[in-house]
């Protein structure tokens, strides 16, 4: 969660940077993005020596370029704590650079930058064809011949990934069937191997890991800390932990239909054509999931009761407010929209991003795209102001204002607006 108490929440617009300044200064500019608090913009650029580097700009200042230039820079991102990080490489050695300070250790390649909520960084790395994860420049002690699906724990102290625990060569199909994959947590592999493992994830207290596994083509399980559930299913999707206990829930397939299971037993007994992306409400008392109650129709189910309204194409980004309201983004007959507590907003758009609730749950703002421009939609209505580019909106802690970070006519602006009205609508 972004801690935005200390940000400038005074209403009004300020210009953080101008594309024309950048154009004048750089021959090469990649996509410009905003810091979480909107006070800074940043992009990958080429410096005067034609090396790749990063430049940032704040209100009233010139673009400021990192001192170090590189052969390559990619994956420039602001972390939730506002620090700016990228993968940088010189003479084939890759490192993480944060605010122009590079990590000590270099690798043949690094990728998959992951932040925890306070901005701790984990990445996947490869050196001399051995693979590991690294948190804050500290690599795992053990390395593996393959590594995928790395994630960082909520407390930022641990990372986990799927690893090849027994090296298996191409073509060794019978050895593969015997099980050559497992999960490593901080470099230590579970003591059991599986035919496949996918998507490990941590419990909220960072002390347990659950993943989807298969032990044969026909037997899929959820494994928690290396131990599988007792019952196999014909397929499973990624599990998640109950925030109030160590229980694990996961979508499971049986007899051609999907159910939600808890700790190995069917928990939602209603069969669905599809069921995935289950989430707990913040108090841990309710569960929502994306479901297809009939073939080709999509909606959210909450505690095993699907909304009445269904959509033809797609449903994504289910999210609870702190007080238990439920929203998502849908696509129906080619157009996108927002649905809240079982009702679709009237405004239909060309694209919509994850809904953002105010802390009290009373208001919802969404980044949307319509007729080639970005807008903010607020509580069902699209605000008239057009942008060439915007980031997701953020509510002030008291919910009375919204921070909009957007580009208009080449100006990158930070704008705090009251939600109380006086808008014109698109």
């Amino acid at each position: 969660m972004i801690n935005c108490d200390s940000w400038d929440w005074d209403k009004g617009k300020k210009e953080v940077g101008k594309f024309s300044d950048w154009r004048e200064k750089f021959s090469y500019i990649e996509d410009i993005s905003f810091s979480p608090d909107g006070e800074k913009i940043a992009a990958i650029v080429k410096n005067e020596d034609m090396e790749f580097t990063v430049s940032t700009q704040s209100e009233g200042a010139e673009p400021e370029t990192w001192e170090t230039g590189y052969d390559k820079v990619w994956n420039l991102r602001f972390g939730p704590d506002g620090r700016l990080s990228a993968f940088v490489s010189d003479t084939g050695e890759w490192k993480v650079s944060t605010d122009d300070n590079t990590w000590e250790n270099g690798y043949d390649f690094i990728w998959n930058m992951r932040f925890n909520k306070s901005g701790v960084i984990a990445v996947s790395a490869q050196k001399e064809l051995s693979y590991c994860a690294i948190i804050n420049d500290v690599p795992w002690e053990n390395e593996f011949s393959k590594l995928t699906d790395m994630v960082i724990s909520p407390d930022g102290q641990s990372s986990t990934a799927v690893i090849e625990s027994i090296p298996v060569l191409e073509g060794e199909i019978f050895k593969f069937r015997g099980g050559c994959y497992s999960v490593a947590v901080n470099g230590d592999a579970w003591d059991r191997n599986f035919m496949n493992v996918w998507k490990p994830s941590f419990s909220d207290d960072s002390s347990h890991v659950a993943a989807s596994v298969r032990t044969s083509y026909n037997d899929y399980y959820i494994a928690v800390d290396g131990k599988t559930w007792d019952t196999p299913f014909s397929s499973v999707w990624e599990p998640c932990f109950d925030p109030n206990s160590q229980s694990v829930i996961a979508p499971v397939k049986r007899g051609g239909k999907w159910f939600l299971a808890k700790d190995g037993a069917i928990f939602w007994d209603r069969p669905y054509f599809q069921l995935w992306h289950q989430i707990y409400s913040p108090d841990g008392k309710r569960i929502a999931a994306i479901v297809a109650p009939e073939f080709g129709r999509w909606t959210l189910a909450i505690d095993n009761t699907p909304w009445q309204i269904t959509f033809s194409d797609y449903l994504t980004d289910p999210i609870f407010s702190h007080d238990g309201r439920l929203a998502c983004i849908f696509k129906d007959r080619g157009r996108w929209g927002v649905a809240v507590d079982g009702k679709a907003w009237d405004s239909i758009v060309d694209m919509a991003w994850i809904p953002v609730f105010s802390n009290d749950g009373d208001n919802i703002a969404v980044k949307v795209k319509k007729d080639g421009f970005y807008h903010i939609a607020l509580n069902g209505k699209i605000l008239d102001t057009k942008y060439e580019y915007i980031e997701n909106p953020i509510f002030s802690p008291d919910g009375s204002t919204i921070l909009i970070r957007g580009c208009q006519g080449g100006s990158y602006n930070r704008d705090v607006i009251s939600i109380k009205g006086g808008f014109s609508y698109a």
């Binding site: 690094i110 990728w111 073509g171 083509y217 054509f273 080709g296 033809s312």
Partner: protein
């Protein structure tokens, strides 16, 4: 994995001596009980009435025979569509699943390597019976029994670990894109292969062999996208591979996982649509089989084949060429995008927009013959290569006929077709050059 071409044909069967460890070792542990139980499970839980209707409706009229290039090439009723059903599921159903491991061995060879799942025969059957479907059910049974040709099984395993079919690791993927970007920048300053751009108009996906063996195709696509000013992106994480050998081995659970990964990769970036490279089977997996298995009637995001995209660029005058490609060309219609999706007219618009001398091969459009590589057959690898090339005799005849009329280049907008046609061209001394549409467009593109 050694290549063996020592196959000899036994008197009574269309099957040459099996030299595939995936099949030979796969049947070793099978018992009749296990076979029966898997068969019952697949037939009862997964096929419904469709399979029974298909098998029962066939009146053995033989009209489908001339629909099948295996039969036309080999002139043996065992290779006719109805003949393949007779040797596999018809017998299984008649014996109520009580068949031997030896039977499964033969059935696996037929289902995986003697049918391209091309669906041409269905157009010739008075009842529209779809033999490709029956062969897919046979493959599903073999997959569940663990009796799958080694090479394609390995490819399916790669999919399950890396989400791509070529064991390309996460780092190798991005590294390859950077390498292609760098190469392209030597010719076109500041050209980019933009990674993970949210809200891009176009998400470009390819198949596993592109970064592994045909990286120049990614280079060419990048040049074309840059030349037309496309707002495009590619993902840095798995989801970039749209191909699907699991669909062909019968591992539908894995197919679902792959398709979900691909769709979500594009949708998480909020791309407007997916444009996929020149591959046929991948298109079938995202537009027909995989999306439906996941619960979608249609794909959740607009997804178009490169033929469609390139054609659109020309129709909308977004692309400038120096001059048309003037070596005489013919066009191979890939089954999955012509019979499967009806892109044959758009493909012809595109040929005419890019080439000055077009010679049709006959038959064509939805009646075109498969390249003999489709349906995962080429992915079954060297042990079946000779048999595959022999079944391409009819295709060779078709190519030679186009050559006689003057064609020198074959445009084949599909990776598997390229593999299959390359072998046919070589084996039958056809002497024609193969190209993708991307090759031709790159060659004639008028760059600033």
């Amino acid at each position: 994995m050694s290549e063996s071409n020592s196959a000899t044909e036994s008197k009574n069967s269309g099957i040459k001596k099996i030299d595939d460890q995936g099949i030979l070792k796969g049947v070793e542990g099978l018992t009749p009980e296990k076979i029966e139980s898997v068969i019952q499970q697949v037939i009862t839980n997964e096929t419904g009435a469709r399979l029974k209707v298909y098998v029962d409706t066939c009146v053995h009229c033989g009209l489908c025979s001339k629909g099948c290039h295996y039969y036309l090439s080999l002139n043996d009723p065992k290779f006719s569509p109805a003949g393949k059903v007779k040797q596999t599921l018809a017998e299984i159903m008649q014996k109520k699943g009580k068949v031997s491991p030896e039977f499964i061995k033969q059935a696996a060879v037929i289902a995986y390597t003697q049918c391209n799942l091309c669906k041409r025969c269905a157009m010739y059957c008075p009842f529209g019976l779809d033999v490709a479907y029956v062969m897919s059910v046979m493959r599903r049974i073999c997959h569940k029994l663990g009796v799958v040709p080694l090479y394609i099984q390995d490819t399916a395993h790669s999919h399950s670990v890396t989400m791509n079919q070529m064991w390309v690791k996460d780092d190798e993927w991005v590294d390859t894109l950077m390498w292609q970007e760098e190469e392209a920048q030597e010719a076109f300053e500041n050209l980019r292969i933009p990674l993970d751009i949210e809200g891009a108009d176009l998400f470009y996906s390819v198949i596993g062999p592109e970064p592994k063996f045909r990286a120049q195709l990614i280079f060419q696509a990048a040049v074309i996208m840059n030349a037309v000013g496309e707002n495009w992106t590619m993902p840095s994480m798995p989801g970039w591979d749209n191909s699907d050998m699991c669909m062909f081995t019968g591992d539908y659970e894995m197919m679902e996982r792959l398709k979900r990964c691909h769709f979500e990769s594009a949708l998480n970036l909020r791309a407007k649509r997916i444009v996929m490279g020149e591959c046929g089977h991948a298109f079938r997996s995202v537009y027909d089989v995989g999306n439906r298995a996941l619960g979608w009637r249609m794909p959740p995001i607009e997804i178009i084949h490169a033929i469609d995209y390139f054609n659109e660029l020309f129709e909308q005058n977004r692309i400038k060429i120096k001059k048309k490609f003037d070596t005489p060309v013919t066009l191979h219609d890939p089954c999955n995008v012509s019979r499967g999706r009806g892109l044959h007219d758009k493909a012809r618009n595109l040929v005419n927009a890019t080439c000055s001398n077009f010679i049709e091969m006959v038959p064509n459009r939805e009646h075109n013959y498969c390249c003999s590589a489709g349906g995962g057959v080429i992915n079954c690898g060297p042990p079946f290569k000779n048999a595959r090339v022999e079944s391409g005799k009819e295709k060779a005849r078709q190519l030679l006929e186009a050559k006689e009329k003057g064609a020198k280049v074959v445009i084949a907008p599909c990776h598997n077709c390229h593999g299959g046609l390359e072998d046919i061209i070589h084996h039958y001394n056809v002497g024609m050059e193969l190209k993708f549409f991307g090759d031709i467009i790159y060659e004639i593109l008028d760059l600033p």
